[in-house]
Structures are given as structure tokens and as C-alpha cells.
């Protein structure tokens, strides 16, 4: 027995030593592998800008080797299912192709955890060379000098939001690479015809009243998966706020202007509408996720599905299993309430920027390479790739989705024709207030609190945040 345990101990020690040896030799090769990957990737499918191969080889001879670090979420797995991730990787590969003297050390982290990682990086002032830039982080990063001023390298006119999401104190600190639209509804034309509607209701109130018919038919009116909490806010609370309270009110409340409050009657009406909405959803909407809700719609258990721009591509993916529903699907904006005009909720959810560590003397080559990488990521190429794959982009571009199917054409119509655009609370409002909105919305939907109480809670948080 003792001999056996000694033997085990020896075996374990040998394993540890052996594995350590493997690990160390592996570490030394990381740089080489990345460069090999970049060179071996296939050339771009289409490109509005053709990068001349000749000039890049000439450049290679003139440039010293440079290493850059980047932390992002766009793994190969993500790229398979999310077109914007695929676009990101495409631009990254193109950059590596054109810049063979640059070694890119990528740290890839899942989307659900990358916020945590960045918080730790920001707290310790250890941002990677190329970093994510989010609007709500600007105070801690741009405000403390952790980011390079990119005002000379990015043109606001190229972007849908005029670079509002990355501007701090009048200077630009990031180039957006993600642009999403939120409040769309896919509906099953056949089921709605059965319920007596030729087309989708054009007003919110009418949509609410459709619930009766669908209850009789035994299906849910709208399928929603709100376990992540931000969905309901993006899809409904937001647009309703613009409908009832107006753009001016929203801008003021984001800025913390005390002349407006969440307890204003207009916003309480928003919460009341949320309360009324709850009946239209599938019974388990608060504990199920988006894909389950989408599947429910495709299986015909719900008459419609509320979805963001990316979700149309998801539904198309599901259409392989459920082709009939896909063919009958049309897309509209969530109908406005209170007689207002339609508002398309959008957000530039993420951008890339450069760490100010590269502004130290002796790092000019790194700085130049890093800025170029940002420009590659936030470029026309990116926009074209996204547009071809049916997803939206922050860079202004033409969307021609006639090949992808009717739902996509509907979406591009909505983008072009909706009179107003609105900001997504989840990306622009102070994080503390945002959390309160998400939770109170979920509470109201679950019937756990009254609209008035919910509004009061949010207001309490708002006051507490902006009084400091």
C-alpha cells in the first residue's frame, strides 16, 4: 500500500515535469504560429478596397518587427454563428496579410466574460495595445488618459452615429465596429391572417388587443426570451420611452439632467404598457433565452418573435429545420405607441481603440501599426462583409439584401424608412441606472411590482448616481 502510493507520487511528479516541459516549449512558439496563420488565410472574397500586394512586400523590408496585444471576443466559434464576428476576423486576417511584420497576440474571451476581464484590465491600468472602447467606459478610460486620441484618424461622417459613442470631451477615442438595431418583430403572416389581420398592427395598442385572438387559438402572441434581462429593455422599454417621452427627454435623462425624472408621468405610462405587454408573451419568458424563444416561433407556437437585427440571421439559420415558417415571415418595426412616429433603436455597442501605453517614446512603430489595425477593423471592408452577410454595420454603407430573403429586405426597408432613431439604454445610460432599469422592467413584466413603484426605484438610483 505504501509502495503503491509512492509509485503514484512519482508518476504524478513525472507528469508535472513532463507537462511543464511541454508548456514551456509551447510558449515559445506562439509568435510564430500567429504569423503563419495570418499568411495562410484565404484572400478576401470581395473587397471594395484592393490592397496592393507589391507595396506590402516592399513595406515588409522597411519595417521593424512589431508585436501588438489585443483582447477580443471573436473566436472562430463565434464567427460561425455571428456575422459581425466573422467580419471582425476577416478584417484581422486581412491586416495580418498586409502587415507580415506585425505579430498579433490575441487573447480571445467569451462574450459573457469579456466585460469582467476588461474591468480588471482597466482597474489595474493594463489595457492591451488594441482595446475595446465602450461608451460607458469612457469616463474611466479616456477620462484618465488610458486611450490614444484618434480624432485625426477617424472621420465622423463615415459613421451612422457620427462617432457619438466614442467621443469624450470633444475628442474621439475609438472606431466603432459594432452596430445593432433592436426593436424589430418577425411575424408569421399565415397565423396573423387566421387571427384576422392582413398586416401587422400599426399601433402598439392594436398589437396589445391582438392577444385575445391568439389566446383563443392557443398560441402566444409574441415569443420572448428575457433571461438575460436586457432584451425586454432593448426591444420595448426603449422605444416606448421615445414614443411617450420624446428624444429630448431621453437625452436629458442620459445626461443626468435633473429637470427630467423617471417618475414623470410619461415614463410611468411606459411602465404601464410594459405591464400590459406581459400577457402577450410565452409563459416562461423570464426564464428562457432568446434562442429558445426563436425556436418556439419557428415551430409555430408563437405568432411573432421580437428580435434584433442579428436575430434575422439566427432565424434564417433555424429555417433549415423549419422552412415553412421562414417563408411566411415578414419583419416590421415594433409599432409605436401613443400615436408617435416609429423610432428605430440602435446602438454602436463596441469600438476599438489604442492604449496610451503606445504613446511612450520608442513605440512609434507600434503606435502606427495599432492605429492601422483599428482602421482595418472599422473600415469599408468590414461594412461590405457585414452587409453581404445580412448584418448591420456602423460604417455607412448600402444594404442590398434581396438575395437573402424577404425578411432581410424588410429589415433594410426599416433601416432606410424609419423616421426616427433612438439610442439603446443598455449601451448609453450609466451602468448603475441601466441595471436598475433592467431589473425593474423584469419585475414589472413578472407582475412583482407596480409601474409607479418601478419608476420610483429607478429614479432613486438615478438621483443617487448623479448626486455624487
Amino acid at each position: 500500500m505504501q509502495r503503491k502510493s509512492k509509485w503514484l507520487a512519482v508518476m504524478l511528479a513525472a507528469m508535472v515535469i513532463g507537462v511543464t516541459a511541454c508548456g514551456d516549449s509551447g510558449n515559445g512558439q506562439s509568435g510564430g504560429t500567429d504569423a503563419a496563420e495570418g499568411a495562410g488565410t484565404a484572400s478576401p472574397e470581395t473587397g471594395m478596397e484592393a490592397t496592393s500586394e507589391e507595396s506590402s512586400t516592399q513595406d515588409a523590408e522597411m519595417h521593424e518587427p512589431v508585436t501588438l496585444t489585443i483582447v477580443h471576443e471573436h473566436s472562430e466559434e463565434a464567427a460561425e454563428s455571428i456575422p459581425s464576428s466573422a467580419a471582425f476576423r476577416y478584417c484581422l486576417d486581412k491586416y495580418k496579410n498586409d502587415h507580415p511584420w506585425v505579430t498579433l497576440e490575441e487573447t480571445i474571451i467569451a462574450n459573457s466574460d469579456i466585460g469582467d476581464k476588461y474591468l480588471a484590465l482597466i482597474a489595474a491600468d493594463e489595457l492591451p495595445d488594441i482595446t475595446y472602447v465602450k461608451y460607458t467606459w469612457l469616463e474611466s478610460t479616456a477620462g484618465t488618459g488610458m486611450l490614444v486620441d484618434l480624432s485625426d484618424y477617424a472621420n465622423p461622417d463615415d459613421y451612422y452615429d457620427g462617432l457619438a459613442s466614442t467621443t469624450w470631451d470633444g475628442r474621439i477615442y475609438g472606431m466603432p465596429n459594432k452596430f445593432s438595431i433592436y426593436n424589430l418583430i418577425c411575424y408569421n403572416t399565415e397565423l396573423w391572417e387566421e387571427a384576422g389581420y392582413d398586416e401587422f398592427p400599426s399601433s402598439f395598442e392594436e398589437m396589445l388587443s391582438a392577444d385575445e385572438k391568439f389566446n383563443e387559438m392557443g398560441i402566444d402572441t409574441i415569443s420572448l426570451g428575457n433571461t438575460a434581462k436586457w432584451f425586454a429593455v432593448s426591444y420595448f422599454t426603449d422605444a416606448l420611452a421615445y414614443n411617450y417621452c420624446g428624444e429630448d427627454w431621453v437625452n436629458k435623462i442620459i445626461a443626468g439632467d435633473s429637470s427630467v425624472a423617471w417618475t414623470d408621468e410619461a415614463f410611468v405610462k411606459v411602465m404601464q404598457d410594459m405591464e400590459n405587454l406581459a400577457g402577450l408573451f410565452n409563459a416562461d419568458f423570464n426564464m428562457t433565452d432568446d434562442i429558445s424563444a426563436a425556436t418556439m416561433y419557428m415551430q409555430g407556437k408563437a405568432a411573432s418573435h421580437v428580435v434584433g437585427g442579428w436575430g434575422i440571421a439566427t432565424l434564417q439559420g433555424l429555417s433549415e429545420e423549419y422552412p415553412e415558417v421562414w417563408e411566411k415571415t415578414r419583419v416590421v418595426l415594433v409599432p409605436p405607441a401613443g400615436g408617435a412616429e416609429g423610432t428605430l433603436i440602435n446602438a454602436c455597442g463596441a469600438a476599438v481603440g489604442v492604449s496610451s501605453r503606445l504613446e511612450e517614446p520608442g513605440k512609434e512603430a507600434e503606435l502606427q501599426a495599432a492605429i492601422e489595425l483599428c482602421q482595418y477593423i472599422s473600415s469599408q471592408d468590414y461594412a461590405t462583409y457585414c452587409a453581404e452577410h445580412g448584418t448591420t454595420t456602423p460604417v455607412k454603407t448600402e444594404y442590398d439584401w434581396t438575395d437573402l430573403g424577404q425578411p432581410f429586405v424588410d429589415m433594410s426597408d426599416i433601416i432606410n424608412e424609419t423616421p426616427n432613431t433612438g439610442l439603446n439604454f443598455n449601451d448609453y445610460i450609466n451602468d448603475t441606472v441601466k441595471m436598475s432599469i433592467q431589473n425593474e422592467t423584469q419585475n414589472v413584466l413578472a407582475g412583482a411590482t407596480t409601474p409607479e413603484a418601478a419608476a420610483a426605484n429607478i429614479q432613486a438610483v438615478q438621483e443617487q448616481v448623479f448626486s455624487q
Partner: protein, 281 residues
Amino acid sequence: MKNKRTLKSYLGTIVINLIPALYAVTCIFPVVWLFYTTFKTQPEFSIDVMALPKSFTNFTNYSYVLTQMPVVKAMFNTLRVTVIVLFCVVLFSFINGYFLARFKFRGSRVLSVLYMSNLLVPIHAILVPVYIIFVKIGLSNHWYSTILPCICMELTTSIFLVRSYMDTIPKELEEAASIDGSSFTRTLITIVLPLVKPVLVTCGIISFFHVWNEFPFSLILFSNEKDYTLPLMLMRFKGEYFTDYPRVMTSLFVSIVPALVIYSLFSKQIIKGMLAGAVKG
């Protein structure tokens, strides 16, 4: 009269055996469910979560998980960190547990409270401070970065267990050895260590799985994918807007299997160790 007694005791035996067996079955079920879900496709899964898969030879998920990502490398990384942490935890908890149980010395109370304070603090609270400290002293972003934090998180439970176990062991054997002229270190290794083996094995098991599944420190302290541990690698399957559940299940199953295999191998040791401890001469 005799027949009644044997019938009653027969029933008693059945009950005694049945209750734990039933409970044990519920414990196996999740692993079984996980296993047969790995053979499903996502559409199959969303139709019926509990049903058996259409075919047990659908290896697409496995081939995806095993080829797309350096899972084997991650497994090695995890094993490496786990073994080192295990060794240190067992060693430290043995020493500290022994000293705190047997002796009163200046500062023993403070030491005791210090080690227990780990129970009071949630792990996410110290994530960022640990990261800041490690960055400043250059300990972050290495393959060994998570070893020290993992040791600290496991020490408390282990010291606790060793200490309370030592309280049940009489001092006669050690005193006899000391009278015979054995040095302190020699007594410790040759007399005390064999006596506490059962509880050290328990500590080992508990720590092994905590470290194997450890996620928060790994996320914050590792930046190089070559250093990633298994949980970190497997999280990549969770998408932003949706998740391919059978794929996630496959990756989870792949991560569980080595740990379970190792655990089953050592469980024989455990039983022997416990029985050895029960025989008092």
C-alpha cells in the same frame, strides 16, 4: 419469534441499502443525461430536451470540440496547476492542522482566525485586488499565476478538516515516540502522517475538483491562450445571443471525464485509507 425478528431485520437491511442507492441514482442521472445529449444536434435538442438522441453515432459535436480548440493542451494546463496546488494544500494543511490542533503558542489564535477568514470573503471581491497586486509584482499572465490564489482558497477548508480530525486522535503515540528519542520532524512524518491519511485524502479530493473547475482567477490572470485551463477554454461556446447546447454539453462532458476517471481511480485508495484508519490497534 425468531422468524419475525429475521423478517424485520431483513426489511431493515433493504431499507438501509435502498435509500442511499436511490439517492445515488439521482446523482448519476445528470451525467447520463449530459452524455446522451452530446449525441444530439441543436435542433434535435430544442425539440425535446430529455429525449434520447436519434442516433448514438452522431460524433459531430465531439469532432468539433476536440479539433477546433486545443482541448488537450488545456487539459494538461489544468492538470498541471491542479496537481501542484493539491500537493501544496495537502502539505500546508497537514502542518498547520497539526500545529493548531496540538499546540498552544503565541499567535496560534490569530493564525487560526486568519485562516478561517477565507470563509467570510466571496471570491469576486478579491479578484481585482489580487490582479492589481500580481501585475505590480509581475506574477500575472504566466502559466503558474493561478497556483497561489488556488492554494489560498483551499487552505481554509483543509486546515479545518485536518485540525478537527487531529482532535480525535490521542496523543499517546506521539508522546511515546518522543520519549523514545524521536525528533519532532521524524515523529511528524512517520507517526502522525499515516494516522491522518484519510482526512488528507478527503482534503485532496475536495481541493482537486475545486481547482479543476476554477474559473474566475483563471479568467483574470491568464492572457495567453497557451496557458488557458479547461473551464476557460470551454466557455467559448457560450454565444452572445444564443448557445448551441449540445455543443456546450459535449465540451462540459469532455472536461468532466478526465476528472471523474482520476477520481474513480483514487476512490479505491480512499476506501482503503478509511478502512485503515478505522482499525485501531
